[in-house]
């Protein structure tokens, strides 16, 4: 439990590694990762929850790390883009991004990858989206329309959207076949 001053002790398990930091309460999770832990994969685009480039997984769920104070996330497990691959072994999603040319400048890519990872998990859990026709129906059919809707929280200034959709689709299809 952080004590009540304007600084707090913050414990974060980041990509499987435990960290203990003493931070100003104003530090966002994004700034803690970038400025205090040297993990610069998560990007600061807008700093207001609008672009998605800061997306990480917090206790397994995709979130925007620019709108979370690190102290409020204390005790949680974070996975940033650096933690997706197993050493040099890329996740299928990462390989599909390369295979489909799903980025140009790459600034949004770490957020896209973390967001898509969380999104595919939501699909596995059967969560509907606003474009899902029948809310009661079982497994989600991950159409292009579904992918676009579910990924709308991640903007791409280079507009690599068609390739991003293709990469995510290929990942989901490969998973279904396995």
């Amino acid at each position: 439990m952080p004590e009540e001053t304007e600084r707090s002790s913050v414990t974060l398990a980041v990509n499987g590694q435990q960290h203990r930091l003493r931070l100003d309460n104003r530090t966002t999770l994004l700034d803690a990762l970038r400025e205090h832990l040297g993990l610069i994969g998560a990007k600061k685009g807008c700093d207001h929850g609008q672009c998605g480039s800061c997306t990480v997984l917090l206790d397994g769920r995709r979130v925007k790390s620019c709108l979370i104070f690190a102290v409020a996330a204390s005790g949680s497990a974070v996975v940033s883009v650096e933690g997706l691959a197993d050493g040099d072994d890329l996740q299928p999603l990462q390989q599909c991004f390369i295979d489909h040319d799903a980025f140009q400048c790459g600034y949004c890519t770490s957020g896209q990858l973390c967001s898509a990872t969380g999104m595919l998990d939501e699909v596995r859990k059967g969560w509907p989206s606003v474009v899902t026709g029948d809310l009661a129906a079982g497994p989600v059919r991950l159409t292009e329309e579904e992918i676009r809707e579910r990924m709308s929280g991640n903007l791409c200034r280079c507009a690599a959207y068609p390739q991003i959709v293709a990469a995510i689709r290929a990942t989901a299809t490969a998973e279904a076949v396995r």
Partner: protein
């Protein structure tokens, strides 16, 4: 940003005591609105009491068919809950039409109800705004007001409440459970948010320092026939230009019961009781749906830049009710 102390509350009464005991304290839910406004210096709390670990995180279907939703349930979990999807689809659809996947994973029910207006002047501390700084004037009255109110506004403030979820809850006759410094009570959702009058800085009827502990939706069997339709400037990830939540119960071709609420038109979710009244007992036809909308919108006073909202809401009402009527005959 001003520095602040942080406290993680584990007991609702303790949380209320802490916030009531400090003039510049705020509850912290998912932070998706509060952290943003703190970055903009619109809100400058000295103490944040984090409510997300309070034991208010469950969705409980009640034996009578109603539902009790804890205040810290995340928007995405509520939307995906099987009972909500089956019995109150209007709520799932409204939640899923809002924000983005990441934000819904963060946002809580309590924070969603208390999110602040998206009026651009409210968010800009360099501009006069009666809501942010009472007595300074309303910049939107003659400024950018395309996104703002057409109903229930005053010359003090023409802002809208931006929540989608609250519109569905208004149609469902939900009740907000609050714990105030004086004790617990329930407030009907349609009376929870205030119209601006001459005090736009007062947004709810909850006592200062009050904590939302949950939301209760009474049983409403025909709410299985309900939906939410939202018009926005782009296909996804945008606030509503206008929205309609509707629940429709037909008896043959006649309207037995109907609930309608509008979003993005007023300082609070707008329950369209005049339209409902006009429809009860009438044939469920497009023409009648349109006449009912006209009945409600007769009181509309559009601002210089948002006249389009009147026909938008009219058309959304007709389309939404027609969709529900059509689904009922399938």
């Amino acid at each position: 940003m001003r520095t602040f102390r942080y406290h993680r509350a584990t007991d609702p009464a303790e949380a209320v005591r802490m916030v009531a005991g400090e003039s510049e304290a705020a509850y912290l839910g998912g932070g998706t609105n509060l952290v943003d406004l703190m970055k903009l210096s619109v809100q400058r709390p000295r103490l944040l009491v984090d409510v997300t670990r309070l034991p208010l995180g469950s969705v409980e279907p009640l034996s009578d068919g109603g539902l009790r939703i804890g205040a810290t349930v995340r928007n995405s979990d509520l939307a995906a809950h099987p009972v909500v999807r089956r019995d109150f689809p209007v709520l799932t659809r409204a939640l899923l039409a809002a924000a983005s996947g990441q934000l819904r994973n963060m946002a809580t029910v309590g924070g969603n109800l208390l999110q602040r207006t998206r009026c651009v002047y409210f968010q800009d501390v360099g501009k006069p705004c009666n809501k942010r700084e009472p007595g300074t004037g309303c910049s939107a009255l003659e400024g950018q007001n395309r996104d703002l109110a057409i109903l229930g506004w005053s010359t003090s403030c023409v802002a809208t409440h931006p929540s989608d979820m609250a519109v569905a809850l208004a149609a469902l006759d939900a009740r907000v459970e609050v714990l105030e410094p004086d004790g617990a009570r329930e407030i009907p959702l349609t009376e929870f948010h205030r119209l601006p009058g001459d005090r736009p800085d007062l947004e709810t009827t909850m006592a200062p320092g009050g904590l939302i502990t949950g939301v209760r939706i009474p049983a409403l069997p025909y709410a299985r026939h309900s939906t939410y339709r939202k018009a926005r400037d782009r296909a996804s990830f945008a606030f509503a230009a206008g929205s309609v939540a509707a629940v429709l119960d037909l008896d043959g071709g006649l309207v037995r019961e109907v609930r309608i609420a509008y979003g993005a038109v007023a300082h609070r979710p707008w329950r369209a009781r005049l339209a409902e009244e006009a429809l009860r007992g009438q044939p469920a036809t497009m023409e009648n749906f349109g006449l009912a909308a006209d009945e409600e919108l007769a009181a509309a006073r559009p601002l210089p830049n948002n006249g389009f909202k009147v026909s938008l809401i009219h058309n959304l009402t007709v389309r939404t009710l027609a969709d529900l009527a059509e689904a009922a005959t399938r």
